[in-house]
């Protein structure tokens, strides 16, 4: 009996040992890459933002001394009017997403869902198309279209022959319209996928009982989508922080930094002229803080609305 028990536990220990070994062999390669690429740079950014590091080797024999200077570069950032301009432009992108893309995406999804039309796939495929193309292609294309000698002034002249093309006073408007054009399809797809989960027989039953389309929308469809609407809003806000490629290619933040967003401001700080890495990293940290705050809000919202969808 006694020997039996000890044999049993011995085999259990080796089984556990094998289990543990297997776990680490399967998990570790990915985790090390993940730490190197995403986790370490995040903490490294905090460190760099507090130093006066302006380039050069950080390790090895040719290492340059790096001093901790505290929050000096954060002060510089918060007193730079271009930081605030960039933040404001990020807010404009949030605005166009929340009040442009989301309602428009919902409207199109709703038409496709309730219209009982043919060619649902066709419309979805075509409207989503701009999203799958490289932002470099899209940005360069729209740069050519909206240029003073581009085709857009030609089109405007068809309606208003007196129109003279010049540099716009509000260059962000063109950027925002391209963002609206490019990404609305994403919201169409998200809303359509979730609309299709709604049981249409509930809507039909309500209509037989005399409900109008608006009432069906108000009392059946919107409540069913409440979670998705909130999630898309958060997606739009975090998506605005991600905008880089399109603006970089279309305007590079110009003219006169008028189309700066946080990521372009950060890029220019690091790569244009003498590199100011601490300031760029301070911007990184601000973006990180905003995005982590958003993660917190997402989690809270998911809890409140029950489930991820």
């Amino acid at each position: 009996m006694g020997s039996h028990a000890s044999m049993y536990s011995a085999s259990r220990i080796t089984a556990h040992g094998e289990e543990r070994r297997a776990f680490w062999i399967f998990v570790l390669p990915a985790f090390l890459i993940y730490l190197f690429v995403m986790a370490f740079p995040t903490f490294f950014a905090v460190f760099l933002s507090l130093t006066n590091y302006k380039g050069g080797a950080l390790f090895g024999p040719k290492r340059k001394a790096v001093d901790i200077v505290g929050f000096q570069y954060y002060k510089q950032m918060f007193s730079d009017k271009y930081f605030w301009l960039a933040l404001k432009n990020n807010m404009w992108i949030v605005f166009i997403s929340v009040f442009g893309q989301i309602p428009l995406g919902f409207f199109m999804a709703y038409l496709i869902f309730r219209g009982m039309i043919r060619g649902k796939d066709f419309f979805q495929t075509v409207i989503y198309l701009p999203c799958v193309i490289s932002t470099v292609v899209i940005g360069r294309l729209w740069k050519a279209i909206t240029a003073p000698n581009g085709v857009l002034p030609d089109i405007i002249r068809l309606f208003n022959p007196a129109y003279v093309a010049g540099n716009s006073e509000h260059p962000m408007i063109a950027v925002l319209l391209v963002i609206l054009w490019m990404y609305t399809g994403t919201y169409l797809i998200i809303f359509l996928a979730n609309l299709q989960k709604i049981d249409t027989s509930v809507i039909e039953a309500a209509k037989i009982d005399g409900a109008t389309e608006m009432q069906a929308l108000r009392y059946i469809i919107f409540p069913a989508l409440s979670g998705v609407i909130v999630t898309t809003a958060i997606l739009a806000i975090s998506g605005s922080l991600k905008s880089f490629d399109l603006i970089f290619v279309m305007t590079s933040g110009g003219p006169a930094k008028q189309t700066y967003v946080l990521s372009i401001y950060m890029y220019d700080t690091a790569f244009k002229g003498a590199p100011n890495y601490p300031l760029a990293n301070a911007v990184s940290i601000v973006m990180c803080v905003i995005s982590f705050a958003l993660i917190g809000i997402t989690k809270a919202v998911e809890k409140k609305f029950g489930g991820k969808e």
């Binding site: 399967f26 190197f36 039309i117 075509v126 054009w181 797809i189 880089f244 690091a270």
Partner: protein, 283 residues
């Protein structure tokens, strides 16, 4: 009675026509700029300057051949294929491995490790681009293919691991347990049971990864400088920057950038839109 029904169906018809009209308008708005691009890629520069709205006077194919030669697009496309293929295969392998371990091997570290990947999905990549650039520079990988591939793999892992883990959780534990009782090792269980069964989620991961890597611009623009390491999007950006007013060639180069993704999208549109709604709702 039939009077009322006629009225209803007439109303319905009007609604239907309006619905189609609005949707067709949106569809035209979505593709008109792209059609305009395709047409103008065949115009000579003089033709374009004189006539930006109309059809090409004649189809000037040389825009494509000249752009292809002067822009090194052969190299860029091969590079893009290399980056996309290696990144996708590596992410598939690593995501499946981690997914298997998180879903089917008991370990108390699963919770925080898996949690850290979920945080990674939601993280804004832009916020680590500068420190990542400095790290890659410090380890001597600036302007190398490896210096692009490692970040690409690391950045794609959170989403891949999330999808793989959630999928593998739905595969019954009994399969793993009975194989264990038969004396199979975890490696064997992974290769002959779990990996084949998780193939559907592999397709989703691969499609998300292929389109993401192929179009990636921000990081590779920062991490490479020589022609031999640039991908198609960066190549187009630098070629476009070298042209001043040669719009014909600019548009041809944009078409060269557009066509591969367009073909991919047409073939896999169902899977792509499915991946978008699955991935985005999570975010």
């Amino acid at each position: 009675m039939s009077y009322i029904r006629d009225d209803v169906s007439a109303k319905r018809k009007v609604g239907m026509v309006l619905t189609y009209a609005v949707l067709i308008l949106f569809a035209i708005l979505a593709i008109a700029p792209l059609l305009w691009l395709a047409l103008n890629s065949f115009k000579t520069s003089q033709d374009y300057q004189m006539n930006r709205l109309g059809l090409p006077k004649r189809f000037f194919w040389q825009n494509y051949t000249q752009a292809w030669q002067r822009g090194h697009f052969g190299i860029y496309i091969v590079n893009s294929i290399i980056y996309t293929a290696i990144t996708t295969v590596a992410i598939l392998a690593l995501s499946f491995m981690s997914g298997f371990a998180f879903a089917k091997i008991n370990n108390r570290n699963t919770k925080w490790m898996y949690g850290s990947y979920v945080v990674g999905i939601l993280m804004t990549l832009q916020s680590i681009m500068i420190p990542l650039f400095i790290v890659i520079n410090q380890v001597g990988l600036y302007d190398t293919k490896l210096g692009v591939l490692i970040p690409y793999i690391g950045i794609g892992l959170p989403m891949g691991i999330y999808l793989a883990t959630e999928f593998m959780k739905s595969i019954p534990n009994a399969l793993v347990e009975s194989a264990r009782l038969d004396g199979a090792h975890y490696g064997r269980i992974f290769l002959s049971i779990m990996a084949p069964m998780a193939a559907p989620v592999g397709v989703t991961i691969a499609i998300l990864q292929i389109s993401g890597t192929w179009n990636e611009f921000m990081l590779i623009n920062m991490l490479t400088s020589s022609t031999k390491n640039k991908s198609l999007p960066v190549g187009i950006q630098s070629f476009a920057g070298s042209l001043s007013t040669d719009y014909g060639k600019l548009f041809a180069s944009l078409m060269i950038g557009l066509i591969p993704m367009l073909v991919f999208y047409i073939i896999f549109r169902k899977e792509i839109t499915k991946g978008v709604s699955a991935g985005a709702v999570k975010g």
